[in-house]
Amino acid sequence: MKKTLAIVASLAIAATVIIVVVVRRNHGPHHHHDSAKTGAVEAVGIDQTDTSVSMMAMLNAPEQATPCLTAYAAIEAEGAAMKLHDGKSMFKWVAPKDAFVAACEALPVAQQQCMAPRYRRDHGDDCQKNRPMPDVLAKMYVGLPIVEPNYQR
């Protein structure tokens, strides 16, 4: 009885192995799915930093009629996001809307386009090469110097 059972068991296992091998041949190699991938948990922290919240709010601000209006809408979206996030804006100072838009519209057209955050992201090289003078930018905004979250701990 034991011998019969052993034979049946061996045949069943052999059949299983053959089936698996055939299936693998038909469907390509199967892979060990890696357990060593660095954790997505780390990524959550990055998305919660003030800088990330600011940037994402500006990139996702709605498009307006002109690049300069889009730029100001992005600044307003950043301000609202930081209020909600209880964080610190990436700008030290921003001109009032009328003055901001007027200064922006005084820029050459190519530079105005770069004021729209999504355009600037998608044309980074061109925008970097076509940078206005610092005194011109200072009429619109002043960035906050880099201060790390843990700087004063």
Binding site: A9, I13, T16, V17, V20, V21, R24, H27, G28, P29, H30, H31, H32, H33, D34, A36, K37, T38, G39, A40, E42, A43, V44, G45, I46, D47, T49, T51, S52, S54, M55, M56, M58, L59, N60, A71, A74, M90, C114, M115, P117, R120, R121, G124, D125, C127, Q128, R131, P132, L137, M140, Y141, G143, L144, I146, E148, P149, N150, Y151, R153
Partner: protein, 359 residues
């Protein structure tokens, strides 16, 4: 025991597949691009490129999903960190690009170290880099037309756009300097000889709006040289990779000496390793038991300069493995910076949102 004997072949039939299994022998490959394994895009791809009687293998493996901020800032890049490497027809890696701190497939680390024990003849390695460039170009063209494979086209196309090291004026100039530094007594290094390491630092502004970038991302390209360039390890440090069209070259560090018995591994291997990255958690809020990309870059550059036998120890806090650096920064204002793999050990990595210097 009997159960185990029965189970082993069964389990292996189900799952014992490695990269080696999917590398079809050169003689069985068609000329040009061969897609060897594209069955699971969430895992990665393997391809080969044959020209006459030689071939290289292209492998990509999918790692962790990048933070949303990274994905929105660079939507043209893959959403996940991806490791990519080229392997020669003898199974030796000669180019690898690591998305995060460790390899998605941990077996790559040992295989890359093994490659240092089996350098190719110069003419073979030069041919390999050339074939890799063709492979990358053809692969990118094929992958971009397939929705599942499109994420794998990005790094391949970036690679294809680069000059191979022996045709890159910067790398050619480096060789002239390296060879000038070769001690006469060691003038005839054979295969399996000593290594010279170069580390090139690249960076770019991050979180940029208008003309303001509040932080910088950095990445290091490590090159290993004997009598030609044998191996490149690109540490992307979780973001855009060194050599990418969006990264700017900053500066270079080198080993300054020829080293023997080197390995390439990560921070916990301490002073006997060359390259690798920090293995603590990755976080922009780098102040605790974690680090960010610029800490990785600082570590990688100091490993190039001081790591390994014959170099100084990076064990600067005396606990056997932790890297810390305190010194002048790159802000131009004379302020000092703190980099570490475990930032809690070094003033919470003050000012590490700026790129490091090249030591």
């Amino acid at each position: 025991m009997m159960k185990l004997t029965i189970l082993v072949p069964f389990i292996c039939a189900v799952g014992c597949t490695s990269s080696v299994d999917t590398r079809t022998p050169v003689a069985d490959l068609s000329q040009g691009l061969n897609m060897l394994d594209t069955s699971d895009a969430s895992w990665g791809v393997t391809a080969a490129y044959r020209e006459n009687d030689h071939a290289v293998y292209l492998e990509q493996r999918v790692g962790a999903m990048k933070p949303q901020a990274y994905r929105e800032e660079a939507p043209e890049e893959p959403a996940n960190e991806i490791d990519m490497r080229f392997v020669d027809e003898n199974g030796n890696t000669f180019f690898v690009q690591r998305g995060g701190d460790g390899y998605v497939d941990p077996t790559w680390a040992q295989e890359i170290n093994d490659s240092l024990l089996h350098p190719a003849a110069d003419s073979d390695r030069i041919r390999d880099f050339g074939l890799a460039q063709k492979a990358a170009g053809e692969f990118a063209k094929a992958a971009i037309t397939n929705a599942d494979l499109a994420p794998f086209a990005f790094h391949a196309s970036q690679y294809a756009a680069r000059a191979i090291p022996t045709q890159d004026p910067t790398m050619v100039a480096k060789v002239a300097k390296i060879e000038a530094s070769r001690p006469t007594a060691y003038g005839n290094y054979g295969f399996g000889g000593s290594w010279w390491f170069e580390g090139d630092l690249y960076d770019k502004g991050t979180s940029c709006v208008f003309w303001y970038c509040p932080a910088r991302h950095s990445s290091v390209a490590l090159w290993a040289y004997q009598t030609t360039w044998q191996l490149a390890v690109i540490a992307c440090n979780h973001g855009t990779c060194a050599g990418s069209s969006k990264m700017s070259y900053d500066c270079n560090s080198n080993s300054g000496v020829w080293r023997d018995n080197v390995t390439i591994s990560a921070e916990t291997n301490g002073s006997t390793s060359i390259g690798g990255g920090c293995l603590t958690s990755y976080s922009w809020d780098s102040g605790g038991y974690n680090h960010l990309c610029n800490d990785d870059s600082a570590y990688e550059l100091w490993q190039v300069k001081n790591g390994g036998p014959g170099g100084g120890s990076l064990d600067t806090n005396g606990d056997g493995y932790n890297f810390v650096y305190t010194g002048p920064g790159t802000g131009g204002d004379g302020s000092w910076v703190n980099y570490a793999c475990t930032c809690a050990y070094n003033n919470n990595c003050n000012n590490d949102w700026s790129r490091p210097i090249c030591p």
